[in-house]
């Protein structure tokens, strides 16, 4: 179980904390979407989970072990693909040979399958690839490590259109009951259909934390010009097709979640949104 326990973090003593008394628990496998405005602390949270930053207060634990200690047993169970990264100057085969021994569950065959999905071959020099290609290689390696937690920070940044399609297939392949994916992104349309769980953060707090099933069970997302529906909506926003609405799901029919609208609702009135789930 991954637990963020009352974490407070600031980049500098003079600056306002990015996260304050922040708590979060992730216990089951699935794909978690981490959404938030710029500067909300998404990347900070991911780095805290990976043990790359030290919280001023609180701790992050994985199965009871503080991730900040960076013990091999926890670090080998968490793989993060940051938004920006560099590869050392070497061939991909050498990179795999040097880095795979650290991950006991690494599968070379899976790595080759993932590369094929992204239309890449193993005979590459990883340092000489474009940003999008580097991202594809990093994602392939990350998935092949079969770590318990896979953290992806803006994974579709730099991917071309076929790459984004391949990314969705790629993630769907790697899903299992005991594996946790945490995807932080602004490009919600790229990942909306993949997510099992939505976490929204803002102002150093968790605004909203619910599974997709719960959201679909309690809320309905429609686009309409119907005045009566607009007046009775929990939240409404103008859209090209009329008004995009969030309504209570009274008839039990699931609708596709409009993540951007849901985020706006959470950002503007998280209390009302969360109260719907308490009924």
């Amino acid at each position: 179980m991954l637990k963020v326990d009352n974490c407070t973090f600031s980049y500098s003593r003079r600056k306002k904390p990015v996260l304050k008394d922040f708590s979060l628990e992730i216990s089951e496998g699935g794909i978690y979407g981490l959404l938030g405005s710029n500067g909300a602390g998404k990347s900070t949270l991911l780095y805290l989970i990976s043990g790359l930053l030290t919280p001023a207060a609180g701790e992050v634990t994985l199965n009871g072990i503080n991730t900040r200690l960076r013990r091999p047993e926890t670090v080998s169970e968490i793989f993060i693909v940051p938004e920006e990264f560099d590869f050392p100057s070497m061939s991909l085969k050498k990179f795999i040979e040097l880095n795979s021994p650290f991950y006991p569950k690494f599968s070379y065959e899976e790595m080759m399958d993932h590369l094929a999905l992204f239309d890449l071959t193993p005979d590459l020099n990883v340092n000489k690839l474009s940003m999008g290609q580097k991202k594809k290689v990093a994602l392939s390696f990350a998935m092949a490590t079969n770590t318990k937690i896979l953290i992806l920070d803006e994974p579709t940044n730099g991917l071309d259109i076929p790459g984004k399609t391949a990314f969705r297939r790629f993630i769907a392949r790697g899903v299992s009951d005991d594996r946790i994916f945490i995807i932080s992104t602004h490009q919600v349309r790229d990942v909306a259909q993949l997510l099992d769980h939505i976490i929204m953060v803002d102002n150093s707090k968790v605004l909203f934390n619910k599974s997709v099933m719960e959201i679909q069970h309690h809320l309905k997302f429609v686009e309409t010009l119907d005045r009566r529906l607009i007046d009775s909506a929990l939240y409404a926003s103008n859209s090209l097709g009329g008004s995009a609405l969030i309504l209570p799901n009274l008839d039990g029919n699931d609708t596709e979640i409009n993540l951007e609208l849901l985020f706006e609702f959470a950002h503007d009135d998280a209390e009302t949104l969360n109260s719907v789930f308490n009924k």
Partner: protein, 305 residues
């Protein structure tokens, strides 16, 4: 369940990864360790005509130093040893960029294994490589000049013992220096003096080098960027300020005639004084390495100071 501090398999995997990723830096260092003495060993005898028949005839063997190049080579070796120790400013060079910090800290090796890898490379392997490549450069000197200077008998491979002792081994001391000119008692006292002086020189060279390694490695853990320059500036400034404050303090409170010696603490034997200084230096070295390790453990991907 693998040991979380040290596992042989994981350590060897990390060591291999480290060496491969730093291969260009390592090759450049080894290149310098070989080329510099090679140029020196081949160039100096030619420039000074050391192996010309006239000069070679006039060469007198003193204190088992059987080749006129040895003294000069020893000076170069001493300088290169100090420079090699200062290479420890590169100890944590991977921490200079955020992306590289992410790569290091997310690698599932323990902090100790990562630290030990750098320690083995910079503190053990580099000095060994310096020594072996220096001997190799010297061997090339002997082959080249041995083949081209026929009849010259003073071309010999440098003694490894001479190098490693920084010329302080009493085997290389000129025992005939005062032959016939002083009494046996005075000669014994002078020999004792030179033994002590040799011990002091050896300690300064060896432990001074180790201390420099530790200090530059610590500097690298604080300032990974331009570490050598920043550490050198800090050490010089710190040394000067300490010396000035110490001198001012002593002269203010005790006057300009204040003088203190180890004898004042009951340590009259000079060799004992040397040994005590060595122990103190070793303790400082160990402490500095420990601080450097704990500083490394505290590193995050952002630089707070």
């Amino acid at each position: 369940m693998k040991n979380q501090i040290f596992d042989a398999g994981r350590f060897s995997a990390y060591f291999k990864k480290y060496i491969f990723e730093k291969r260009s830096t390592i090759i450049i260092c080894l290149g310098v360790f070989l080329l510099l003495p090679l140029l020196f060993c081949l160039g100096l005898p030619y420039m000074k005509g050391l192996y010309s028949p006239e000069q070679a005839q006039n060469f007198i063997v003193r204190g088992n130093v059987t080749d006129p190049m040895w003294h000069s080579e020893l000076t170069l070796f001493g300088c290169m040893w100090i420079i090699a120790c200062c290479f420890c400013c590169d100890f944590y060079s991977e921490l200079s960029k955020k992306r590289e910090r992410i790569s290091i800290f997310t690698c599932p090796a323990s902090n100790f294994e990562k630290y030990a890898t750098s320690f083995i490379v910079f503190v053990i392997l580099f000095p060994i490589a310096l020594f072996l490549l220096f001997l190799f450069a010297d061997a090339i000197r002997v082959w080249v000049y041995g083949a081209s200077s026929e009849g010259v008998s003073c071309i010999h491979y440098i003694s490894p013992r001479y190098l490693l002792s920084f010329g302080c081994d009493m085997k290389y001391f000129d025992m005939d220096l005062y032959a016939g000119s002083v009494s046996p008692t005075d000669k014994a006292a002078m020999l004792n003096f030179y033994k002590t002086a040799a011990a002091v020189k050896f300690s300064m060279c060896l432990f001074g080098g180790f201390l420099l390694q530790a200090l530059f490695a610590l500097g690298s853990s604080v300032w990974p960027k331009k570490s050598g320059l920043k550490t050198a500036c800090f050490l010089m400034t710190f040394g000067m300020v300490t010396a000035i404050l110490f001198y001012w303090g002593i002269s203010t409170f005790y006057g300009h005639d204040f003088h203190i010696e180890p004898r004042d603490f009951g340590i009259s034997n000079e060799m004992t004084q040397v040994i005590i200084w060595d122990i103190v230096t070793v303790c400082i070295i160990i402490f500095t390495w420990a601080v450097s390790y704990f500083r490394f453990k505290e590193w995050e991907i952002i630089k707070r100071w």
